[in-house]
């Protein structure tokens, strides 16, 4: 006699044909859906409370990881419209410098400089990128690669905004724990916000522009305007990260435009998994701590770090998140055989 049950995948039955219709039959199914999200939110929220155990250093690592995560989320949104950015540092730098300048020149308190720098910075970045939005692929990528370098050298050459010395003695933010919480909140809001956005009809238009822009034009949609909106939305987390770190360090210099802020978000998204946002964030929360773990190795650090990157990309080309998600969807449960009631 065969067993009186068959194996059934847990996610079958929960998702009814469409992505956004859920037919929940039990609290276990609810748990299955909410579990991963709750684990992520819970984990992130508890982390800063462990300060006494893990030490202040790791709190600062978390802050860096969150900044990179914000830039990576921003990268992923741009990529979903078909814009490949190699210059995420621009968002970071512009946000940082606007906050720094407002605080340095007019003593605007951080409570105001950060939101102003976030929105104004995103507007500035959108305006700068607007003329090149019609470029695609490698051409757009090259322009974005150049822009942060251009800003760096411009500040150096003209000695505006403190020149090579940067703007220092800026107003500090409250306690680090609070700052980390703000950063974590920003990451979570961006993550869930972008995920919701891209699954809406609006997001469908954005993805349509990436896959087939002429069809979107033929559908009567102004793709330049939509791309500009996407750049603005993508710039927001980047400029916010720049502004937040500027006040945390009480300093902003031309290193805000350094290639690190362009490459790390890109690498994070690659190892985390493109197109899901969760992947971008997981990648950043993996890469940055790994980099920190290797700090003791001195020059060898970059070697180990690069090797790990290569291993990830060769071993899991789809990205951590896609892999984990697939495994999770393959969880099975015992289900009654068809016909048995």
């Amino acid at each position: 006699m065969s067993a009186a049950y068959r194996k059934e995948r847990l996610d079958r039955g929960i998702k009814a044909r469409s992505d956004d219709i859920f037919a929940l039959a039990s609290y276990r199914e609810l748990l299955y859906l909410i579990g991963p999200r709750a684990a992520l939110i819970g984990g992130l929220l508890i982390f800063p409370l462990l300060r006494d155990i893990i030490g202040l250093v790791w709190l600062n690592v978390m802050l860096t990881a969150c900044s990179i995560a914000l830039l990576a989320l921003s990268w992923d949104l741009l990529a979903s419209v078909g814009l490949v950015s190699l210059g995420q540092a621009m968002f970071f730098g512009v946000g940082g410098y606007i906050a720094g300048y407002l605080n340095d020149a007019y003593r605007v308190p951080p409570l105001l400089t950060i939101p102003i720098a976030t929105v104004l910075g995103a507007l500035v970045c959108t305006a700068i990128l607007y003329p090149v939005l019609r470029l695609r692929g490698i051409y757009f990528a090259l322009i974005t690669l150049t822009l942060p370098l251009l800003f760096q050298r411009l500040i150096e050459a003209t000695k505006i905004l403190g020149g090579t010395e940067g703007l220092s003695a800026l107003d500090p933010l409250p306690e680090t724990t609070v700052v980390v919480y703000i950063a974590i909140a920003a990451v979570l809001i961006t993550l869930f916000g972008f995920r919701r956005l891209i699954n809406s009809d609006y997001g469908l238009v954005l993805k349509g522009i990436r896959d087939n822009d002429r069809s979107v034009i033929a559908a009567g949609i102004n793709i330049s305007w939509y791309k500009a909106q996407a750049v603005f939305l993508a710039a927001l987390p980047g400029t916010f990260a720049g502004a937040l770190l500027t006040h945390q360090l009480q300093f902003v210099g031309i290193l805000a435009f350094t290639a690190n802020y362009s490459i790390l978000p890109l690498a994070s998204t690659m190892i985390g998994g493109v197109g899901t946002f969760a992947g971008a964030m997981l990648g950043a929360l993996t890469l940055v701590p790994i980099s920190e773990l290797f700090r003791g190795f001195g020059t060898w650090r970059v070697v180990f770090y690069s090797v790990i990157l290569v291993i990830f990309i060769v071993g899991l080309p789809e990205g951590i998140f896609h892999y984990v998600q697939r495994q999770y969807h393959q969880f099975e449960r015992r289900a009654p055989l068809a016909g048995d009631k």
Binding site: L204, K207, G208, V216, A219
Partner: protein, 254 residues
């Protein structure tokens, strides 16, 4: 001519890096008319469509919509006015389920203006449109990825994409190419219905028999020039049209 023509093309001229693709083509269309554009391969039919819809800028000449010069409008703005086109080479969003392909045109300002209050759920409108162009009711086909659809269905999806925009002028660029005879036969009533509802129709087509069932006037292009226009039977009888399609005898110069 009493009324303002819905679409007027005035001496449209297009050169691609010195080589002429369309030479001084002019025509006018009354509202509700159905025009066929025919001609041998490479005669500039698709370029003419691209010029009318704004995907290609003319070297000279102008396009009027209801008497208004639209030559400098962007393609999406012309769609907003009600000029919709299908692509000869199908251009679906392959990574999306078929019905989701229609969400994008349904999201356009024009579709939202027209259909906005009428329906709450765009997914339902999309499924409905697919049924209209001949996707089987209650089948799984609308939910399949567009990349899994056979070519005939993709052509119908192109048509549905245009219909989602509630066009006033519908330009079909070789809709029938690559479709089987039975598929074409099943679409003909729909296109006739569209015409009867008052939509102005322009069809670029190689399948003359089917085309002539729908349109009552044609223009013939050859090497970018309009060489003939008129009712289908007379045009087909013209000497120069026959020459353009069948070629002239070579050998005199050899």
């Amino acid at each position: 001519m009493s009324a303002v023509p819905i679409l007027a093309v005035d001496r449209l001229h297009k050169r691609f890096s010195g080589i002429g693709a369309v030479y001084d083509v002019s025509f006018e269309l009354e509202e509700g008319a159905a025009l066929g554009i025919i001609g041998p391969n490479g005669s500039g039919k698709t370029t003419l469509v691209n010029l009318i819809t704004g995907f290609v800028r003319p070297t000279s000449g102008r396009v009027f919509f209801r008497g208004k010069d639209i030559t400098h409008l962007m393609p999406h703005e012309r769609v907003g006015l009600g000029i919709a086109r299908s692509f000869q080479m199908v251009r679906p969003f392959y990574n999306l389920p078929t019905f989701k392909n229609l969400i994008i045109p349904l999201y356009s300002p024009r579709a939202r203006r027209i259909k906005g209050g009428e329906y709450g759920n765009r997914d339902e409108v999309a499924i409905h449109l697919l049924e209209e162009v001949g996707f089987e009711r209650d089948s799984q086909v609308p939910y399949k990825m567009a990349s899994n659809l056979p070519h005939g269905y993709l052509k119908r999806l192109e048509l549905a994409r245009c219909l989602a925009l509630e066009p006033e002028v519908l330009i079909l660029d070789e809709l029938f190419s690559g479709m089987s005879l039975s598929e074409i036969a099943s679409l003909l009533p729909l296109i006739e219905k569209i015409r009867e509802q008052g939509t102005t129709l322009i069809m670029v087509e190689h399948r003359l028999r089917e085309l002539f069932r729908i349109v009552k006037e044609v223009i013939v292009l050859n090497f970018g020039e309009k060489i003939a226009e008129g009712a289908p039977p007379e045009v087909i009888g013209m000497e120069n049209v026959r020459k353009a399609y069948l070629g002239t005898e070579v050998g005199a110069s050899a």
